[in-house]
């Protein structure tokens, strides 16, 4: 018996028991919100297509790794061949710890911590599996009549847990309360070019490569070259004066601190703030390596050597001097009559004529920043 069938055997009686326990009813509507965490990579519902991950329609009863037209990792395909079929139990186990349950899956997602979240999520996903939706629809809630107006925001809002009523130690209005050191440490994670804000820690190119392959390459490509329209992270050196410049970390970004700061606060997309400080050092080192700014796989980036790394385009920026442009500098009274010679002739038509919401994919069209 494969390990997946074993888990099933263990889980089955448990789940029977659970039926008698008064769990908060799983709620598909709340589940739709939980699904926001998956949306970066998965689509579900009418017309859903494969994205970074496979589409999730008719997931319940699907053998793992078998959605048509999607290229799975060898690990997921193998799990399916060994008998892994998606249902309540297996999805609970997978979504709680994807890489613990299917070793080697390329799904770069840390997992959902709360069981109730997974319950709600599965209730929602069931609404997109034909025949799997909860049998008894919840009785339609009676229309909530607006007997009394809801309390206004001002009255509702409770005070932040303050040590004691705001001591009149600060300011003009004596509003708010002092922030504690721990609170500041929890939020103040920004890093500046001079190294201000860098945490203790370290990581090597080789460590970064493993993390990148696991958590970043699905969107940014193995070499930072990008999959589809996701951002390119490497290359483009010496293209800034080209007709079509390629602006990347290596070719354009002036400071390394921005790489650390941004990855730490916003990546991986859809699972922000999940990386350790050491992970971010390793990933930053690896991005430098992808851009040929460091070439040694044993290179270790740390707080100590961070500010010594210089970016190729560090001198590429100037201050705003728009006002010196001829059309602004003169501030001349504009011409009203016979301002241009001859009759106007069309030199260019709109390239994209029919900008409907479902316009065809515009390969080679301009992209937005």
């Amino acid at each position: 018996m494969s390990k997946f069938l074993k888990t099933l055997a263990v889980l089955a009686p448990l789940s029977l028991l659970c039926n008698n326990v008064a769990w908060a009813d799983p709620d598909a509507e709340d589940g739709a919100k939980v699904f926001n965490k998956c949306k970066a990579c998965h689509a579900v519902g009418e017309g859903a297509k494969h994205k970074v991950g496979p589409e999730l329609n008719d997931l319940f009863g699907r053998t793992a790794g078998t959605a048509e037209g999607y290229k799975y990792s060898p690990a997921m395909t193998k799990a399916g061949e060994e008998g892994l079929v998606w249902n309540d139990e297996t999805l609970h186990a997978y979504l709680a710890a994807p890489r613990g349950y299917v070793k080697g899956t390329k799904m770069a997602f840390a997992g959902l911590k709360k069981k109730e979240e997974i319950d709600d999520l599965l209730a929602y996903l069931k609404t997109h599996t034909s025949g799997a939706a909860a049998p008894e629809e919840k009785e339609a809630e009676p229309e909530r009549k607006s007997e009394a107006p809801a309390p206004t925001e001002e009255r509702k809002a409770e005070a932040a847990p303050a040590p004691d009523a705001a001591p009149k130690t600060h300011g003009v209005f004596h509003l708010g309360r002092p922030a504690t050191a721990d609170e500041i440490a929890a939020w103040d994670i920004d890093v500046r070019p001079d190294g201000h804000g860098l945490p203790e820690g370290r990581g090597t190119v080789a460590e970064g490569e493993a993390l990148f392959t696991d958590q970043c390459a699905a969107c940014h490509g193995d070499f930072g070259e990008a999959i589809g329209r996701w951002p390119v992270l490497a290359g483009g050196q010496d293209t800034l004066t080209n007709d079509r410049p390629v602006k990347t970390i290596g070719s354009y970004w002036p400071y390394l601190s921005t790489v650390y700061d941004y990855i730490r606060r916003a990546m991986p997309f859809g699972n922000a703030r999940s990386l350790s400080d050491d992970d971010v050092y390793a990933l930053t080192a690896y991005v430098l390596y992808l851009n040929d700014i460091v070439t040694d796989e044993d290179f270790e980036l740390s707080r100590d050597n961070f500010t010594s790394v210089e970016m190729p385009n560090k001198d590429g920026f100037i201050d705003d001097d728009r006002l010196s442009e001829p059309h602004y500098a003169g501030k001349a009274e504009p011409c009203m009559n016979d301002c241009r010679p001859g009759k106007a002739e069309i030199t260019m038509h709109a390239a994209v004529l029919d900008v409907t919401p479902d316009a065809e994919d515009g390969e080679g069209s301009p992209s937005i920043e």
């Binding site: 925001e153 509003l175 708010g176 920004d190 589809g228 606060r265 728009r322 106007a344 030199t347």
Partner: protein, 420 residues
Amino acid sequence: MTNTPTRRSFMKGGLGAGAALAAAGLAAPARAEGDPAITEIQDWNRYSGPGVDASPYGKPSKFEAGVVRRNVAWLTADPVSSVNFTPLHELDGIITPNGLCFERHHAGVAEIDPHKHRLMINGLVETPLVFTMADLMRFPRENHVYFLECAANSGMEWRGAQLNGCQYTHGMIHCVMYTGVKLKHLLDEAGVKTNGKWVMPEGADASAMTRSIPMEKAMEDCLVAFRMNGEALRPEQGYPLRLVVPGWEGNMWVKWLRRLEVGDEPWQAREETSKYTDLLANGKARRFTFLMDVKSVITSPSPQAPITHGRGRTVVTGLAWSGTGRIKRVDVSLDGGRNWVTARLDGPSLPKALHRFYHEFDWDGSELFLQSRAMDEAGFVQPTKQELRAARGPNSIYHNNGIQTWHVATDGAVENVEIS
């Protein structure tokens, strides 16, 4: 339903289907037996409609269902970090309805429980502080109407005419009345140290957006806002709290605002280095190009709002704005910038807000090249696209405030073009 084609059914039938448009028109058919809209009793004239609570939060008429924000799916990799556009061609006046204000998110719309929302001020201040929403509402409030324009508005048009509709070419802008408290009050409350020269706002969403704002601007007119057009901010506009940075690029108006840090130098965040820097032809890029320049666009007629009534009395209308202050004058050209007439500004003229202009004329049915050109109270005049490209090269992307040309064909269809 009658069989009379409406303007809406034309719009659904496809944009720029010009010939049919002009032929059919909107004018009521004058038949011998009279207009059935008058001679026949209509349902709404006979039967009562829904009662008062049918729609506790009112919605637009079902006949306005096409007046919505739209995106261009292929512009970005994923709708979670993407943009949609305000339907400028369907609007009038200077205020954008809350539900039509364009959206630009970097990690989707954060759903924040206002009771769990906090605003922290830390860095170079005497007393780092934490405020609840209730605390913030106890500061003196102010109301101001401001436009918010994304620096990438019209960015797709840098190299030439691209998208056929002012919703897409100019729709990354909106203008609402904000209620909030002066950022200055909050900073004073914490006490900015003498070496505090920059302020960094940070969002509470999963992109944790940050920008660096010079202290003079922060103290001058920035607001920390919790309402737009009288009601709470919409989630997609930063509920419960956003920064308002009047006249400056939209990216700095951090939504879901949770922290303000004071520092002695800018942070060089991703959004002010990798993005929102303007690459010039010589390979150097301008940075900290905060101000939104003087700009205008004709919103109707435009590609999504063709002339459907045939020749005769015609209303040209549009919007003008400048990050410097008020708009002083808008000129309109019907012949592609050869000759100009001064348009009529109507409605309130408020600094750093949208201004509405009109130009009425008798259309003789001949081809038109419509342009508008704004001038602000500081004397800056909206440049042509050619002038901008000559000064900046083809890859500047941001801050495209060039004069827009709409070609009106003899059948009333309108197209986005560039001209000699």
